[in-house]
């Protein structure tokens, strides 16, 4: 048998070939997942302005500044692409994984792997539903429809609704579950697993998975409680 160097003729076929194999998909999930982790942190810093007692002054100024920043608008395209790829590949691998078992075991063990790792598609799907609602309330209303409310008013209105706030908090718990496995798992996907640093990654991952969704959930909870106590 003889082999020749594959000529990709300056196309991106080498990349689509690479993510067509399972390990390539894994890299893509890890890469987009990690990108989303970075995004969540930036998003959280912005949201924390909602807790400032200034009637939304700082928050509105911040959300306006995002609109006029070219760099942010470019990153936004990558953000949408990152979400879409993460979702499409997440659903694809999950369907393949379900099919790969064939007949299910009559008795299943749940001590050999973590609950979080086994339910990434379930937690992810709920996050997806949330994402669509979230985009409708904020992105669609302000960016597509040109709402005459300020961003701060939109946020406060949404979070004064007990169902919206309840759902938001519920989703943040699921996001925490997603990240309990996801954070550390992304590094393993990149091939980074060593006694030197893996214990640290795991600790940072757990910390992130608790603190970031926790702070996100605190905001609507706070706004809702404020409404109740003012009544």
């Amino acid at each position: 048998m003889s082999y020749q160097i594959k000529n990709y003729k300056n196309s991106l076929r080498w990349l689509t070939d690479a993510v067509s194999l399972s390990t390539g998909k894994k890299y893509l999930m890890g890469f987009t997942g990690f990108f989303l982790i970075m995004f969540l942190m930036v998003h959280l810093f912005g949201n924390m302005l909602l807790l400032k007692h200034d009637g939304g002054l700082a928050f509105n100024a911040y959300s306006k500044s995002l609109l006029t920043n070219v760099l942010i608008r470019v990153i936004e395209i990558f953000l949408f692409a990152g979400f879409i790829l993460h979702i499409i590949f997440g659903i694809t691998v999950s369907i393949q994984n379900k099919n790969a078992r064939g007949k299910q075991y009559a008795v299943k063990s749940n001590i050999t792997s973590s609950f979080f790792s086994r339910h990434m598609i379930e937690t992810g799907s709920f996050i997806l539903i949330f994402l669509l609602i979230h985009l409708k309330t904020f992105f669609y209303a302000h960016r597509i429809m040109d709402s005459n409310l300020t961003m701060y008013e939109s946020v406060v209105m949404a979070f004064q609704n007990i169902y919206y706030t309840g759902f938001y908090v519920f989703i943040m718990i699921l996001l925490s579950f997603h990240l309990m496995h996801g954070f550390q798992s992304a590094f393993q996907s990149f091939g980074l697993n060593h006694n030197k640093y893996s214990p640290l990654i795991k600790i940072i991952g757990l910390f992130y998975a608790v603190v970031v969704p926790g702070l996100f959930a605190l905001i609507p909870f706070y706004i809702y409680m404020e409404k109740i106590t003012l009544q």
């Binding site: 048998m1 003889s2 082999y3 020749q4 160097i5 594959k6 000529n7 990709y8 080498w14 070939d17 690479a18 194999l21 399972s22 390990t23 390539g24 998909k25 894994k26 890299y27 691998v93 393949q96 994984n97 099919n99 790969a100 078992r101 064939g102 007949k103 299910q104 075991y105 009559a106 008795v107 299943k108 063990s109 001590i111 050999t112 792997s113 973590s114 790792s117 086994r118 990434m120 496995h181 798992s185 393993q188 996907s189 990149f190 091939g191 980074l192 697993n193 060593h194």
Partner: protein, 272 residues
């Protein structure tokens, strides 16, 4: 000890159904010091005497080295103990159970042949795609002509201790074969003899793995938990790194005709 067995029967006259079903058996003269497979031998003897077809299960060495004896016992590959194969499991380890549910490995890529016996030839085809090195058989090399660090030799040795039992696939929530494949990739990529072909190996071995219909790895770690030979997720990390490196290096493809030597840097001879 007394024990109730629920055993998956498929493709034998016992089950009558091609789809397979569980059959229940009771044994009441089992000694604690019997091995699990000896307990199945006792059951089969009894079935034969009563005119029934014995339960088919694979076994060969019965000392934990051949990898053929895999079954799932109460949801655990090779039974509830860590780091052993089914043949190393003894009835005294199962004292806390009154019922044992015994199932074959479940994976699309491991179809059931009969009862508890599955076809693991998918593993053979994966290894045929790259689980080897091409060497020219010249004279006997001098001792220590290839230097390998002790820690590297040790790591390669641990990776090479995979016995191809398939417990990783059986235990994985996705029926993924990544642990098995990563053991082979690590073993060969760590050693100088495996390095010349390592980029092509990882690409063709992963292609073969996906083609067999195994699932994707989701880093759940059930494989590592159940592997009787202590192959760890670090090997899968190594597999991922090797793949990354291969993707960003030249890829090889099989050429329809024989490539000629000296055709310029576009062609390259690997193997023969």
């Amino acid at each position: 000890m007394e024990i109730t067995l629920k055993i998956w029967r498929q493709g034998s006259q016992e089950s009558k159904k091609a789809k397979g079903a569980f059959e229940t058996y009771k044994l009441n003269d089992i000694q604690e010091d019997m091995s699990f497979l000896e307990m199945l031998d006792v059951l089969n003897e009894k079935l034969l005497h009563e005119g029934f077809e014995p339960v088919a299960f694979s076994h060969d060495c019965r000392e934990g080295i051949c990898g053929s004896c895999g079954v799932v016992i109460n949801g655990r590959a090779h039974g509830p103990l860590k780091g052993i194969t089914t043949c190393q499991l003894h009835m005294r380890h199962l004292k806390k159970f009154t019922t044992l549910v015994i199932e074959p490995w479940r994976a699309k890529a491991f179809p059931v042949i009969k009862d508890l016996v599955v076809d693991r030839s998918a593993f053979d085809r994966i290894l045929q795609a790259g689980g080897y090195i091409s060497v020219n058989t010249g004279g006997v090399p001098d001792a220590n002509s290839i230097l390998i660090g002790k820690h590297i030799a040790d790591e390669a040795f641990v990776a090479a201790s995979c016995i191809g039992c398939g417990a990783c696939v059986a235990a994985c929530p996705n029926a993924s074969a990544n642990l098995f494949v990563s053991a082979k990739i690590s073993h060969l990529a760590l050693l100088p003899q495996g390095q010349p072909e390592k980029h092509h190996r990882v690409e063709s071995i992963l292609k073969a793995m996906d083609k067999e219909g195994f699932g994707n790895c989701s880093n759940a770690g059930a494989c590592e938990y159940e592997c009787p030979k202590g192959i760890t997720l670090k090997n899968i990390a190594k597999l991922n790194r090797e793949y990354f490196e291969a993707v960003f290096s030249a890829s090889l493809e099989e050429h329809p005709t024989h490539a000629h030597h000296g055709k310029g840097d576009e062609s390259m001879h690997v193997g023969h």
